[in-house]
Symmetry: C2
Subunit: 801 residues, 2 copies
Amino acid sequence: SSSMRSSLAGVSGATPTEEMNGAGNLMDFLDEPFPDVGTYEDFHTIDWLREKSRDTDRHRKITSKSKESIWELIKSLLDAWSGWVVMLLIGLLSGTLAGVIDLAVDWMTDLKEGVCLSAFWYSHEQCCWTSNETTFDDRDKCPQWQKWAELMTGHAEGAGAYVLNYFLYILWALLFSFLAVSLVRVFAPYACGSGIPEIKTILSGFIIRGYLGKWTLLIKTVTLVLAVSSGLSLGKEGPLVHVACCCGNLFCSLFSKYSKNEGKRREVLSAAAAAGVSVAFGAPIGGVLFSLEEVSYYFPLKTLWRSFFAALVAAFTLRSINPFGNSRLVLFYVEYHTPWYMAELVPFILLGVFGGLWGTLFIRANIAWCRRRKTTQLGKYPVLEVIAVTGITAVLAYPNPYTRRSTSELISELFNDCGALESSQLCDYINNPNMSRPVDDIPDRPAGPGVYTALWQLALALIFKIVITIFTFGMKIPSGLFIPSMAVGAIAGRIVGIAVEQMAYHHHDWIIFKNWCRPGADCVTPGLYAMVGAAACLGGVTRMTVSLVVIMFELTGGLEYIVPLMAAAVTSKWVADAFGKEGIYESHIQLNGYPYLDVRDEFTHRTLATDVMRPRRNDPPLAVLTQDSTTVEDVETLIKDTDYNGFPVVVSRESERLIGFVQRRDLTLAIKNARQKQDGVVSSSVVYFTEDAPQLPASNPQPLKLRRILNLSPFTVTDHTPMETVVDIFRKLGLRQCLVTRTVSWKQTLSRLSLSPQASPGHHHQEGCLAPHGSDDEPGPRIHHVQLAAEPLHSSDDVNR
Amino acid sequence: SSSMRSSLAGVSGATPTEEMNGAGNLMDFLDEPFPDVGTYEDFHTIDWLREKSRDTDRHRKITSKSKESIWELIKSLLDAWSGWVVMLLIGLLSGTLAGVIDLAVDWMTDLKEGVCLSAFWYSHEQCCWTSNETTFDDRDKCPQWQKWAELMTGHAEGAGAYVLNYFLYILWALLFSFLAVSLVRVFAPYACGSGIPEIKTILSGFIIRGYLGKWTLLIKTVTLVLAVSSGLSLGKEGPLVHVACCCGNLFCSLFSKYSKNEGKRREVLSAAAAAGVSVAFGAPIGGVLFSLEEVSYYFPLKTLWRSFFAALVAAFTLRSINPFGNSRLVLFYVEYHTPWYMAELVPFILLGVFGGLWGTLFIRANIAWCRRRKTTQLGKYPVLEVIAVTGITAVLAYPNPYTRRSTSELISELFNDCGALESSQLCDYINNPNMSRPVDDIPDRPAGPGVYTALWQLALALIFKIVITIFTFGMKIPSGLFIPSMAVGAIAGRIVGIAVEQMAYHHHDWIIFKNWCRPGADCVTPGLYAMVGAAACLGGVTRMTVSLVVIMFELTGGLEYIVPLMAAAVTSKWVADAFGKEGIYESHIQLNGYPYLDVRDEFTHRTLATDVMRPRRNDPPLAVLTQDSTTVEDVETLIKDTDYNGFPVVVSRESERLIGFVQRRDLTLAIKNARQKQDGVVSSSVVYFTEDAPQLPASNPQPLKLRRILNLSPFTVTDHTPMETVVDIFRKLGLRQCLVTRTVSWKQTLSRLSLSPQASPGHHHQEGCLAPHGSDDEPGPRIHHVQLAAEPLHSSDDVNR
């Protein structure tokens, strides 16, 4: 229509400064020129610079408007505060969800063994709270809590009861896991896995629509409870990060500041990830550092401060729900009474080596298994796989008391120091009859038969956990890795701890023990070894460093034990890094072929941009648009024939002087829109990007002006730029593409460069490799095209569904 | 000599890929082509991209060599470990220095009042350790410790003794401060001030030679002790960061990896800053976050991890020295016994408002005073100024017991909860005679006369501290700001705390107290108010956020009180930000005119690169070099006439096609070197930057090839790039300069752009404003020159000497 044409003319009438700002200020004077312009397609990367520039424009507009009236001022203040409101809401919701999950998991885990007669919705512990038994062991046997066999047959003991309990345990486990995998399959395929690899990818600027949606949030919350309760070797920490990010995404949609800007949205998601870890471990500072170190890509100082706020709100919401019934924020509250000694660093470092080796083994085996799942028939039966693994887990776990209970309870017991009141098997030491009173500061004692039984049961549990975790992580149910890794480390650590303790007790005249371990002194704390082992194994798998130590520090609440933790974490990281730099999350990102440019990767090859750019010498020429001689049909053919994300616009094919860059999506939308709404735009219409329409014969149809969607400040580097600098620029500025200009040589080789960050043989990006353009000797600026490979993943199955 | 010429020919014979890498790989095949190439002049900014690229080259070289022999492999491993070794050394030395400083300050502060007879090198507390008095107050009066009057006249009491003590107190204070300011003046002018503004500037990439030198380290350590002991209103925390950075710089010189690369050196310095805060407060995590949030510019994850290591080592070294004699790591160890209540958030937020107002007042008044010092006669008599302020401080401080003692002792007492054994004036409550036993959980009691005396003394102390700190910070002695700020907040907080406590006691039937403050309950902790106030005031002055809360969290060791601290810190920051975005450090950076590009500054103007670049329309043309037609004399004239840091190299003045960028310093050095060592290079020799020598008449003298120093990949943006993007690129990539190319318009306006980050009226950078070049209509690539103003500060007095 002609009204549309005049509105377009209005655009070109804007002051040059206003209009020259490229795509950034596009939204300002024509609020929605056509739908979806400036958005991104699914499975594409965002352009951080453009998002940032759009936000600056928006902010500037609000600031200048705020001087006009009180109402606008209030609106601008509300806008400034919306970030804090979102953080508050994220903290409240993720804290609440974490509390609900904790309570539900407690109850359902116990439901596998029995039920509370006084109120069926009580977990074992809650059920026995009112009991007047004092010790832990006796309290376990309170009359209100009945095992299934006792309830059904009246017999609590005996082989029959044991078999019935065993059978029901397996049945419940299978039911829970079946429900979990079915819900995931039917309602939200994205709810599976830990979610951290995908969140890392999303935060680095990739778009996966629906991954953080409301539906995923709901299903992930429900299935997480089911999966953890089923007794599988998995934890809730990673999925909680995903849940918190879903909350963040949910609240983003309340404010256009965040919902309409993919860059700003990612700031909120970074903070949400911190809140997720904060509630997972009760460690707000650790959560912020985890988000900073492990998950986030762009983490400005403002986000640091807001993440901290969200993490604190989440932690305090969780504490007021008080799911652990002890007013403690942390999952594994421990208090040790003795310091550690220098000589103990040797076993701590050995635990670090173990952690590193376990990390390497786990990553290699798990990735191999996941690759097999992707490539063979196995991947076609996810429900069957989950059922089978649950069955095996339940059958093997029940007989061993250390695997039968929930993994977090196990870790909690392993971390604990043996006080005088402790009645668990692990604390079955032979007491000195002369010991006066049951204080907490108990000297080292010889191990009783219970400890030896516990030791071999723990050894079996260790082997079981190591093997089963490899097969569990990556199944189509929500599954976190923190708890199983920590369990492996805690078991190994406790075994080593008891060994050292007994050695010190029986051989306190040995030269190494002489100085610090007199008889009657409490010199070795096996629980500390368990904690160090847990940190080492977690570090080996995830390669977390500072955040790991800080989380552990927040668990113990004292600087006292930071040195052992640090020694183990450093050793573990070094050992694991010696076998391969990538942690489990990076490995899964690579396995799934996500376009992730790891900040920590060192670019070690010595190449220049000119060596990697495409097209190469024998490829077809670079796909470009000319500023005023391409027709609509040409453009459509170009879009159809290629799958690049965008095209450089040049003065003419001969001179190839660069004037700007146009996004594929914007081009498609603009042409579609013009064809529908603008009179006279036909296939033979000329598309022009200049300010004034080209001089065309009168017979030609109405030309189409597209300067609005042209980015006049595309990012360029010279072809002599070293590739490590190019990669650095991509990382730091979050570019989507970069053009290579040749300014030195006089030979013209018009080239396209496709820079793929994950150029592994298995990745799914199509790199544009076109045939040669030849060379001519005419001088002129040269354009090459360095593009971050972010072409759509054609098979959507790759996204870990 | 001809051998030199052939060696230069050898350079051009390198493979193109190798040689095209620009300045980065220069060092590889000619180890030292001429001295100092690739280094920077004093008061210039570094090029982060170039430093990074040089480090990558170095690393690559070592890696490839390591495969050659075992010895090279060992060398490469040593190189990889050198970072950790440096961190360890920094931790050890800065921890030791902090411990020595603490001990010396303790002793010398007490020396102003008296001396220990059993051993004169004991501080008051150490002297009375062996005393058998138990309460704090009585222990103060142990017989071994004698005040000066008692020692000299034998009379401990009476007006004469008071006057003599008063006089000697002032005398000692004047002696210490005179020594401090004289040592600073004579030996190390850079040792004055807190050092944090300068360290921020250095870490952002500026070179200030000697600022982190050995001499500064020594003098700053000694004078810090003197300054703190003199009783001036200053702290040791900021200077400790400077001391730690000096340690870092010292150990950098042991490894060529760090000493020869300004970028890598700054990574070490960031970690050293963390170690400094870690020992200042005993808060390693807070230290790392302080370095990340407040001080550092480029903080990769690797540095995070290493900073944490250095901070931990430093903290543990300090703890093994145990200067506070209580095995505690932290400066102000506190333990509160009661939780806080929701209603208390109101006074906490009020304290936050007070902190914000104090921050604003302090920054404005202090900056105004410092500006006056710089611009008037006052600045010419720094020794006299210090003497005068010390005299006034001592005269006013002695009569008031809360200002007489050291500020950290004061803060410590204000933070403390009044236990049953506490005998200080602040804890003079009227005890209930029915109270059974002196437990720590003491109910609220009515205030006794001691508390009321303390209250008005504290009020006087508050006014005194507020006024004197404004005049103290910025004098020519080492002076930190953390402790005085915290003292102001702690005094205000304690006063508010006592007021709320007494109100709650006397009016526990008021509606606000009814719910949480029953009679006989311990419901208000005045010490907590002091801590919240301290956090608020520190936050108002420095604008720290997360690091502040974490430091405070590490002081108390519990998450319990994070919400009050957070509320106060957030309020304080918001209130202070409402009056001005800059904290005290940024204000001092701006006052001193350092070229610092604040990451937190928002660029709010809507301009394009084309609007700000120089030369403008009526300026002389851009100073450029041509690739093969400039003579040595031309170059020398250009260097003499301009003071730009570098020059673009173009094909010819007509086409102005950019081929690269050459640094001023490299150019000067290369020509100087060639004139000395290379035959045939005279003033009329042609300088060429191409690969092959230009075709010259035989009569011409020997041409000079300078391709070696040409950076073939200068950073370019188009003139349509929005300025906020340009600033963002400068910040994120740490550029030294950036060229603007014009590719759209056909009008040629050859321009130079000088982008000064601190374009305040008082700054000392010379911006290149040259006259117009005119315009011609010939098409061709356009070069403009965006340069971060980092010209030398001509008056070296500006650097806070």
